[in-house]
């Protein structure tokens, strides 16, 4: 403790924050690792297989075996690639996917960075992810990578508009850009009926589907499209550079699921708030509820992948531009009317 007290106060603060950041990063990274295993297991059982079960008890050590394998593989940088951009692109993917967690309200009263512009920060960082994809596709100097990057960029950009409109509605309903305050605005005696998913139902659906499209997950995975353009933007990546793109994709899935839980399902609020009271085990808000809601959306990601065939590209663009954008604009008007007439229980 003597050493700790000899450190100047500002440095103590920085060290405490660093420890918290590292803790969150490690937990998120572990979640990513086990999400990859969960995906293989869930899809396995959906397809009547049992999935990986060899490494460790019931296959529980599989993610670590994968990481070690990928670390030991050769990193190939194609001769015609732009070396600097080629290596920097995976970093540009992973950094925003992790750093967005800085403003996430994890449990009551705790957010790493409790800033007033939290939602804008999230919007900015989730938009940055597209740069990693474009740079990877362009720097590879390969036709498949280039095609994949073009498709992916246009798709992400199209769905971001619908996402932005849905977020505008969340801000209208909660009156705040602070993610913690958005969660608190959904608290109330009616429990899960008080959350924004009900008054914002179409936007809730639009937001989550846009999230699936933004992360380039099936059925919107034309950017990878194994059967047409091999692997899309990361076709030239091998070993650890590929592993980082993989990590970023799964980190983004967890991020989108957590954000959907925060914006529409009341984050750490308990669904039984009014039923059991805040003091009981089931009624108390906490990290448990947040994790449970996030896990539900993650399961939906895997379920979609196992169930739906891949969309055609023109269908993807039609869904984004011609269905989602009109729906969101109309619902912003409806929501404005609901707020103006103070419809209970949400806007009373």
């Amino acid at each position: 403790m003597a050493i700790w007290e000899s450190i100047p106060e500002q440095f103590q603060m920085v060290l405490i924050i660093l420890a918290q950041v590292l803790a969150v990063t490690i937990v998120v990274t572990l979640c990513v690792a086990y999400l990859t295993l969960a995906e293989r297991k869930v899809i396995g059982y959906i397809q009547n297989r049992i999935g990986p079960n060899r490494v460790g008890p019931k296959g529980l050590l599989q993610p670590f075996a994968d990481v070690i394998k990928l670390l030991l593989k050769e990193v190939v940088v194609p001769s015609s690639a732009n070396r600097f951009l080629f290596v920097i692109a995976p970093l540009l993917s992973i950094t925003p996917a992790l750093a967005a967690w800085a403003v996430m309200p994890l449990f009551p009263g705790f957010t790493l960075a409790n800033i007033n512009a939290g939602l804008l920060y999230v919007l900015a960082l989730t938009s940055l992810g597209v740069y990693g994809v474009i740079l990877a596709g362009w720097a590879s100097n390969s036709k498949y990578a280039f095609l994949g990057a073009m498709r992916s960029a246009a798709q992400i950009v199209a769905y971001e508009i619908a996402m932005g409109f849905a977020l505008v509605a969340v801000v209208m309903a909660s009156g705040s850009l602070n993610l913690g305050e958005i969660v608190e605005a959904q608290a109330g005696g009616a429990g899960l009926l008080n959350w924004f998913w009900l008054p914002l139902f179409p936007l809730f659906v639009v937001y989550f589907i846009s999230g699936v499209a933004e992360t380039n997950r099936a059925p919107f995975d034309v950017a990878e499209g194994e059967s047409e353009i091999v692997a899309g933007f990361h076709v030239e990546y091998s070993g650890v550079t590929f592993a980082i793109f993989f990590l970023a994709e799964y980190a983004n899935m967890i991020l989108i699921s957590a954000l959907t839980a925060v914006f529409f399902l009341g984050g750490w609020l308990s669904p039984f708030q009014g039923l059991f009271g805040e003091d009981s085990v089931l009624g108390a808000p906490g990290l448990f509820w947040f994790a449970l809601k996030t896990a539900f959306f993650l399961f939906c990601f895997l379920w979609f992948r196992a169930t739906f065939p891949r969309y055609r590209y023109d269908q993807i663009m039609r869904l984004g531009w011609k269905i989602f954008i009109p729906v969101t604009i109309v619902w912003i008007f409806v929501l404005g009317a609901m707020i103006a007439f103070q419809v209970p229980p949400w806007f009373a």
Partner: protein, 118 residues
Amino acid sequence: MLENYLPILIFLLVGAGLGGVLLLLGFLLGRGGKDAQKLSPYECGFEAFEDSRMKFDVRYYLVAILFIIFDLEIAFLFPWAVALDGLGMFGFLTMAVFLLLLVVGFIYEWKKGALEWD
């Protein structure tokens, strides 16, 4: 106020650091010989035909331009949405006019076929 943003800076550095460490480990641990065939761009076993930075469909460009317009509208909507409680009916109707103008533009794009992909 500003110190609330310190965790964000630290998180950005940690995020980039994690990626950097992984990259470094990969370059140090990864092994294997390199030859011209392995380093050439992948093209189903053929020699690459032409430069891969080829012409691309103009519609991608169109999508990017439409995106900028709409994203700007969303940026306009955010401060209004935060202040909606204090603005009351007048504030709502003002933005309704703005959104209507946006919708007129959107219908024009739609009828012009800018949103068609095939």
